[in-house]
């Protein structure tokens, strides 16, 4: 409220400047303090979990931020830094990282670092201790709802979860069957509740102590526990695991796994670089390469047809209503751009419902109970996708064509009419070329956008109908980006390396198309 407006200040303008600086100085100081605190916290936590890359980046950021904002110089950097930092981390780095992942075997079983994988194998591989006494047991939940066990060890009730080792619980009672009945601070599950989470209960391991070597309590029944001990021991000197029951030795192999001589391996593994293998698979694995080729061709056809159909419908409508005699043009325009204002992903899902066979509105009502497989027959599905995208995209083209048409001078048409040019000739030789100057860059942008129009494909058909028995579960209408999504997210065994390699290929295609297009329109020189 106390903003010092320049007009209210005394003639010496420098006074107001200084006062303003003082007031903002406090705000600036507070923001800087918060930023520094946040960055220091991030650096400290990165140090604690030994994420050296994050620690290094945070430290550099800490120095740069203070340098830029405390210094009186470097004014442009003050404005650029926030955007650039996010850009570098979440776009530039991720693009570079994608390139790196493309040369590794990152995947479901190879996601964590080697030291983390070793720790996990130590923590999860176990074997029943033969001859050890059974422990009366109850399945419990702690206050946070995590499953745990309460067991009677030497007459003392102890309770713990997968994360919290067993601890004696004071005031617990033991029931008639020898198992804990009431455990203060824990909720004891009855048989029905145990059955509901049966698979979690049989997989649960509650450690005796913080040291994995002391072993765990497990159960098969939910009422009797048994002791288990680590199955594998890790030898740091030789970097090998030994199976304590069979004496088989597992050594690290070049696929990022500890493997035995007979080929069996311990999971999880860790990612290793595999050279051009992912790119090779795209070319030589015939099931993958043929699907990619098909998806690639369809992606180009889909993006091109989408731009062409939406542009010509939009242009046709713009020319139709551009006549000075048409009344209510404003009303027409605001109704026609409704599809543009309606969120695209919702519209795609609505169309999916309307095109459903046999229950969708189009088949059941408009066509009076027709049996047309709009979304489940290969070519009809492709047609439907382009038709839906026409609905989504024509208002945008209508708007830009209307804008561009108004910039075309009227006397050109006058001259053409005097020369006896037909309406079609006027359109082909005057309207279209003049329009293209301003609209062509937008058409290229629209092509690039549709090239990766994941939402439309995934929400209308999910890429289906499926190609029968395809190893990557791909469908006939999958475009390249939805193929990547299926390989990386939907598939049971996620292959991040392969997905990243496919992303790189799309990067290259999109970049090449945009570059060619923009060079054509000389946009590059114009902007710079």
């Amino acid at each position: 409220m106390s903003t010092v407006a320049p007009s209210e200040t005394p003639p010496r303008a420098t006074t107001s400047h200084a006062r303003e600086l003082n007031r903002w100085w406090v705000v600036k100081l507070a923001v800087m303090a918060l930023l520094n605190a946040g960055l220091l916290y991030a650096a400290y936590s990165a140090l604690m979990v030994q994420e050296w890359a994050i620690l290094g980046f945070t430290a550099v950021l800490l120095v740069v931020v203070n340098w830029v904002y405390v210094s009186r110089r470097m004014v442009p950097a003050k404005y650029l830094l926030p955007g650039i930092v996010f850009l570098l981390v979440y776009q530039v780095f991720t693009m570079g990282y994608t390139a790196y992942i493309a040369f590794t075997n990152y995947g479901s079983e190879n996601t964590i670092r080697k030291d983390q994988a070793i720790e996990q194998i130590l923590r999860t591989g176990d074997v029943r201790v033969e001859g050890a006494a059974d422990l009366p047991l109850a399945v419990v939940r702690d206050e946070a709802g995590d499953l745990g066990f309460a067991v009677v060890v030497d007459g003392v009730v102890q309770a713990g979860t997968a994360e919290e080792p067993l601890e004696p619980v004071g005031g617990a009672t033991v029931g008639g069957n020898g198992a804990p009945e009431e455990v203060p601070g824990w909720t004891v599950l009855n048989l029905g509740q145990i059955l509901e989470v049966q698979s979690e209960v049989t997989a649960l391991r509650v450690p005796f102590s913080d040291d994995p070597a002391d072993g765990w309590v497990r159960t098969q029944t939910g009422s009797v526990g048994f002791q288990s001990s680590p199955r594998y021991s890790y030898d740091e000197a030789t970097d090998t695991f030994t199976d304590l029951t069979t004496e088989v030795v597992y050594t690290p192999n070049d696929r990022g796994f500890f493997a035995a001589p007979d080929g069996s391996r311990l999971t999880p593994g860790w990612p290793v670089t595999v050279g051009f293998e992912n790119f090779q698979r795209m070319l030589t694995d015939s099931r993958i390469s043929s699907a990619l080729l098909q998806a690639g061709a369809w992606t180009f056809a889909f993006a091109f047809l989408s731009v062409a159909t939406t542009f010509f419908l939009g242009l046709f409508l713009a020319m139709t209503f551009n006549h000075p005699g048409v009344r209510g043009r404003k009303v027409i325009r605001s109704l026609l751009i409704l599809p543009y204002a309606f969120p695209g992903f919702l519209a795609a899902l609505v169309w999916r419902g309307m095109l459903n066979n046999p229950y969708g509105f189009i088949n059941s009502t408009i066509l009076g109970g027709a049996d047309i497989p709009w979304l489940t027959e290969e070519w009809l599905a492709r047609f439907s996708i382009i038709a839906v995208n026409l609905w989504l995209g024509f208002p945008y083209m209508f708007l830009i064509a209307t804008g561009a048409l108004q910039a075309v001078p009227g006397d050109v048409y006058e001259a053409a009419r005097l020369d006896g040019a037909s309406a079609f000739r006027q359109f082909r030789s005057i309207t279209l070329p003049l329009l293209m100057i301003s609209v062509a860059p937008l058409l290229i942008a629209s092509f690039a956008f549709n090239f990766n129009n994941f939402n439309l494909i995934y929400f209308v058909t999910e890429g289906g109908p499926n190609i029968p028995g395809h190893p990557l579960a791909l469908g006939e209408t999958d475009i390249l980006i939805s193929v990547v999504y299926k390989v990386a997210v939907v598939a049971g065994t996620k292959q991040y390396g392969l997905a990243a390699a496919m992303s790189i290929v799309i990067f290259l295609i999109v970049g090449l198309v945009s570059w060619l297009g923009f060079r054509q329109t000389r946009k590059l020189e114009e902007v710079l």
Binding site: Y41, S45, M95, T111, F321, L338, P343, F345, W391, V489
Partner: protein, 294 residues
């Protein structure tokens, strides 16, 4: 008599001309409007229907009830909606601030590396962030290990990812507008003793308000509609955005709940449609300057 004849035939000629030049345009207008609004009318009708599935829909507005809207309260829809509004709102404000600050720096200052950075941004905007979602997933896995707030299943992390796309997509659109604000204004203010930050906040930002509105809207719509990155980053049901959540309603082959989906879709579309109506004038101008909406 002769005069009357002449007017009559002129009127007739005008009528003939109207029929020939204009009547078909109105016919096309009616057809195009029907085509444009039909799916929207359909989803409105489905949201007011008492049936929850696709089967048995025989006409539009055969029944009008609010059962589908009531049923939304038994789902996490409102949580998703709130998540989407928070994520969309924050990422849209942040995007506008960061992109306009960068555009101001490029437009008003001459510094080393300016041209190089501009070219770099121009190239970068050809590569959608979406394509790097695998790397984003693995990056957030590692980040979350150290700072859970920036890891998977955190709204802040998703917003940070969207911030990463702020400069690439919008700086150029804004840069052009900033250049169209006369430099004499800044110079006059500087002579009066205004600091660079004061010139930015009180002079430039006000003059380029239309383009700020367009970028804010595009950023909001972009994060509101995003599926892949939101789906990869947010995994817990109560953390989902409305795009991922509504998709779940209808993704099942046999248990698709179209009635509830339609009600949710109507509500979810309201913020965007309203924003569009308010900003329509600016958007049409901004479109020709090269903005694409998803």
């Amino acid at each position: 008599m002769a005069v009357v004849d002449a007017t009559g035939s002129r009127q007739q000629a005008q009528r003939v001309r109207w029929w020939r030049e204009l009547s078909w345009r109105y016919l096309i207008a009616v057809a195009a409007i029907l085509y444009a609004i039909f799916p929207i009318v359909f989803v409105l009708s489905a949201s007011l229907s008492s049936r929850g599935t696709l089967s048995g829909t025989s006409g539009l507005f055969t029944s009008v009830t609010t059962v589908q809207y009531d049923a939304l309260f038994d789902t996490l829809f409102w949580t998703w909606m709130a998540n989407s509004l928070i994520i969309g709102g924050v990422s849209s404000v942040g995007t506008v601030l960061m992109a306009s600050a960068a555009a101001y720096a490029f437009s008003r200052f001459r510094f080393r590396g300016r041209r190089g950075t501009l070219t770099f941004l121009l190239l970068l905007q050809m590569f959608p962030q979406l394509l790097a979602f695998v790397a984003i997933l693995l990056l957030l896995l590692a980040l979350g290990h150290a700072v859970p707030l920036l890891g998977l299943n955190s709204k802040a992390a998703l917003i940070a990812v969207y911030f990463g796309g702020a400069l690439g997509a919008n700086t150029f659109l804004m840069y052009g507008f900033f250049n169209s604000v006369p430099r004499e204004l800044d110079e006059a203010a500087r002579i009066d003793g205004a600091s660079h930050s004061r010139i930015y906040f009180t002079i430039i930002l006000r003059l380029v308000a239309p383009v700020l509105a367009v970028v804010a809207l595009l950023a909001f719509v972009g994060s509101f509609s995003d599926f892949i990155i939101a789906r990869v980053v947010l995994t817990q049901q109560d953390q989902l955005t409305v795009a991922v959540g509504l998709y779940q309603f209808v993704s099942g082959q046999f248990d698709a709940r179209w009635g509830i989906f339609a009600a949710g879709a109507v509500i979810a579309s309201i913020p965007i449609v309203v924003l569009f109506q308010f900003l329509q004038r600016y958007i049409v101008g901004g479109l020709v300057a090269g903005a694409v909406k998803g």
